[in-house]
Structures are given as structure tokens and as C-alpha cells.
Amino acid sequence: MDLIIPSAGLIFWQLFGFLSLLFLLVKFAWKPMLATLAEREANIDGALKSAEQARNEMANLKSENEKLLQEARLERDIILKKAQEASLKMIEDSKLEASKQGAQLILSAKAVIETEKKAALTEVKNQVALLTLEVTEKLLRKKLSDDKAQIELVDQFIKDLKLN
């Protein structure tokens, strides 16, 4: 058999063999396989796309959450600030009230003290007056036991009267 001259028999068999291989492979291997591969690629494409979509949605959700969180934070800050202000005001108010009340208390205490003092003084004055009267009486009784003294005293009085 020659090296570079194709032999008719082998060409025939090769043609027959290759064409039957082609036919069988196309029918039983390549067609189903290529179809499946295309299907799988479509599946993968779809999966990738939906994953992308999901990711976008997640990102959206996340940003929304972030926004909500931000808003909540802001609100919280405002509330805290308000509360702080309110508490400050309350403290201030109570302080004011307390001082006012204190002042009033002091004032009323002072008034009471004053009245007490006045009363006490009056009492003391009365007591003093009474005591003086008693003393005077006693003295007078003692001094006026003799007539001379009585007359002297009357004179004295008259003198004083005259002077007045």
C-alpha cells in the first residue's frame, strides 16, 4: 500500500465510518448536549441576573434602612434635646419656686418673729409696768407711811406739775 496515494477502499470505509459517526454523534450526543449546555447557560444567566437583582434590592433595602435609622437617630436626638431642655427648665423652675417659697417662708417667719417680738416686748413692758407699779406702790407705801413724806411727795408733785 502506498504512502502518498490514497487507496479507494480506505476512502470508502473512511467516508462510510465518518459519516455514520457524524450521524450517530449528531443524533445521540451533540444535539442533546449542545441543547443542554445552552439551557444551562441560559439558567446560569438567569440566575446571575436574579442574583444581581436581589443584590440591588438588598442594597436598596439597606439604604432605606440606613435612611430610617438616620431619621430615627435624628428624632432621638431631638427628643433627647427636648427632654434635656424640659428637665433643665423643670430644675430651673423648681429652683425658682423653691427660692420664692424660701423667701416667702423667711418673710413670714420674720413677720412672726416680729409679732412675737412685739408681743414679747409688750408683755415685758406690761410686766415692767406692773413691776414698776408694784415697786412704786411698795415704795410709796413705805414712804407714805409718815405724813411728812406724804406732804413732801405732794409737794414734789406739785413742783413737777408746776414745772410742766
Binding site: L10, I11, Q14, F18, A29
Partner: protein, 347 residues
């Protein structure tokens, strides 16, 4: 991993050497009694009517193959290749003519009366071809079955081996070279790739036939590509051939002739490239093995074993590259024929 591979291929080449060595020993018994190293090389490279595996001592272990002949006045006839040979030496010769038909010592079939006869024998290459076909069918169909069973899922087993190749041929060869109309040609290109690749690889096994390095095989494959290209040739393709655009009218006759010849040189190049690449590889490997028997020296033996191992590795590469190139060029020729727009950048 690499070391393991090297060791295996070294063993492999030693194995190959043993096989080829014994066939060398038989082939060397030429008429002049001289050693003829090209004999066994050519014997391996060419087709044969019987499959010779090994010779142990003087016993040839062969597979006799059917001989089918056709002659217009005799019709189809079936024989066994052992009918035409010396039962001991297994040599074909005119002396062992059977029923008016003989096979000469160059494996040519002829008629004793000199009449014409066509040889449709199941030769060694035909058997090899059917083995390759069976192998390709087996792996491809079992890969396809994986998807039929499991639906569009990730590949597993054989499918994970076949699928990347299928995707490579579809996306890198067919889609890139043919363009948007690639789908129709993918099955043909896939079959081409798998057949040539498997043929190249199995041809490297010791004792295997040189199928893809046979001119009749490459001729048939190239012819099929030629048919596919020209059957699918669109208007622009034929216009490009017979009324090449942008060429002055005076030059047109020459251009048309050139373009017309070009139609045939493309498949011719396909045919020759694959034939030469594979046959040359086999010749180189066998030549290194032949050195051992010419020099009969241990050092040459070791050296050529190493050389055979390394060339076998290169041949593995060549087997793949040639299958790729044949498929790629087929796809490019198809692409040139089916594209609808002008292709002036070709010249």
C-alpha cells in the same frame, strides 16, 4: 506528578520499543538478507491487510483481517487475509495467490490475470478507524447521557472531560471563525475534532495503526470539509471567486483562475498538513527505535529510549494541535463561505 508521567512514558517507550523491535527484526529479512531499517518504519506507517502485533521468536502474532474485493466481472468477494500469505512468515506474495487474487509484498492487491480489481478490504486502518469511532461514540454518548439523566446540571465523570472540549470547539473555534451562523456547523466540527484527536492519540499507542497519518483518511476528511464549505457557499463567496471585487477587469481571468485553484488548495493543505504531521511524528519515533537495532549498543539504546520518550510527549502535543488546527481551518473555510459581507482583507 510530572515525574510519574515521565516514568510512565519511559516505560511506555520501552514497551513500544519491544514491539517495534520485533517487527523490525521481521521486516529486516529482506531478499538480499541485508537489514532494512526503513522497512519496518514504512510497514508501520502504511496500511496493511493484516494486523501484526508482535513476533515472539519466529511466531507472528497477528490478527488476520477480511479481504473484500470487487471486480466488475466477479462481483463482491470475501476472503481472509491469511489466504494470501505464507502461513509461517506471514509474508504476502504473488506465490500465495488464492482464487486468482494475490496480495504482493507491498500489500497491493491484484489479479493473477491482470484484470482490474478494487480493494475494499477491512484493512488495519479500517479496523483502527472503527475502534476510534467506537471510542468517540462511547465517550460522547456517555457524556450526553449524563445530561439526559440529570438535566442541565454541572458535568460529572466523562461529561466533565467532554464538556470543556465541546464548549471550546463551539466558542473558540466555531463562533470565532464562522460568526453568527456557527450553530449549524458545530456538530460537524465537534465530530471532526474528536475523530482526529482520538485517532492521533490512539495512533501513538504501540502496535496501533497510523490512521490519521494515512493520506486516504486525511483526504476524506478534507474532502468532507470541501463539500461542507462549497455547499454552504453564499453569494458573496462565489462572487469572491468568480468576480473578485476590486480587481481590474484585465486581471480578472488570472484572478479567477487563482481563486478557483484556491478552492482546491484549501482542502489540499488540510489533507497534507495532518498527514505529514502525524506520519512524520511516527517516522521520527520509529527512527529512534531503529537506531537501537542498527547500533546494537546499550548507550544508544538508553539515549534513544529517552529521545523516544520525549518525542512521544511532543507527539501528544502534536496530536492535539493537529486536531485543533484541522478543525480551526475547516471552521475558517466555512466562515469564509457563509459570511454575507465582502471580505477584501483576505489577500
Amino acid at each position: 506528578m510530572t515525574r510519574k508521567f515521565l516514568v510512565v512514558s519511559l516505560l511506555f517507550s520501552v514497551f513500544l520499543m519491544n514491539f517495534s523491535g520485533v517487527s523490525f527484526a521481521t521486516a529486516s529479512e529482506t531478499e538480499e538478507g541485508k537489514e532494512d531499517p526503513t522497512g519496518f518504519i514504512m510497514h508501520h506507517i502504511k496500511d496493511s491487510h493484516e494486523w501484526h502485533f508482535v513476533t515472539v521468536g519466529h511466531t507472528h502474532i497477528t490478527l488476520p483481517l477480511p479481504v473484500i474485493t470487487y471486480a466488475s466481472n466477479r462481483g463482491l468477494e470475501f476472503y481472509n487475509s491469511s489466504d494470501f500469505q505464507n502461513p509461517k512468515t506471514h509474508k504476502f506474495s504473488k506465490e500465495f495467490a488464492h482464487n486468482g487474487i494475490y496480495i504482493d509484498n507491498h500489500d497491493h492487491l491484484g489479479r493473477v490475470d491482470g484484470g482490474s480489481i478494487i480493494d475494499f478490504s477491512i484493512t488495519k486502518n479500517v479496523v483502527m478507524m472503527f475502534l476510534v469511532i467506537a471510542f468517540v461514540l462511547y465517550i460522547s454518548i456517555s457524556a450526553a447521557r449524563h445530561y439526559q439523566k440529570n438535566g442541565a446540571v454541572a458535568p460529572k465523570g466523562v461529561a466533565s472531560f467532554v464538556e470543556p472540549i465541546v464548549i471550546f470547539v463551539r466558542d473558540e473555534i466555531a463562533l470565532k471563525s464562522i460568526g453568527p451562523k456557527y450553530k449549524k456547523f458545530v456538530p460537524y466540527l465537534l465530530t471532526l475534532f474528536f475523530f482526529i484527536w482520538t485517532g492521533n492519540l490512539l495512533g501513538l499507542l504501540p502496535g496501533a495503526a497510523n490512521l490519521t497519518g494515512n493520506i486516504a483518511v486525511t483526504f476524506t476528511l478534507a474532502m468532507l470539509t470541501f463539500v461542507v464549505v462549497n455547499v454552504n457557499g453564499k453569494k458573496d463567496y462565489w462572487k469572491h471567486v468568480f468576480a473578485t471585487p476590486g480587481v481590474p477587469a484585465a486581471l480578472l481571468p488570472i484572478m479567477v483562475a487563482v481563486e478557483f485553484i484556491g478552492l482546491f488548495t484549501k482542502p489540499f493543505a488540510l489533507m497534507v498538513r495532518l498527514f505529514v504531521a502525524i506520519t512524520a511524528g511516527h517516522i521520527v519515533i520509529l527512527s529512534f527505535i531503529a537506531l537501537v537495532f542498527i547500533f546494537e549498543s546499550y548507550s544508544i539504546g538508553i539515549l534513544s529510549t529517552i529521545m523516544v520518550a520525549s518525542i512521544n510527549i511532543i507527539e501528544l502535543l502534536v496530536a492535539t494541535i493537529q486536531a485543533y488546527v484541522f478543525t480551526l481551518f475547516s471552521a475558517m473555510y466555512i466562515g469564509g463561505a457563509v459570511t454575507e459581507h465582502q471580505q477584501d482583507d483576505h489577500h
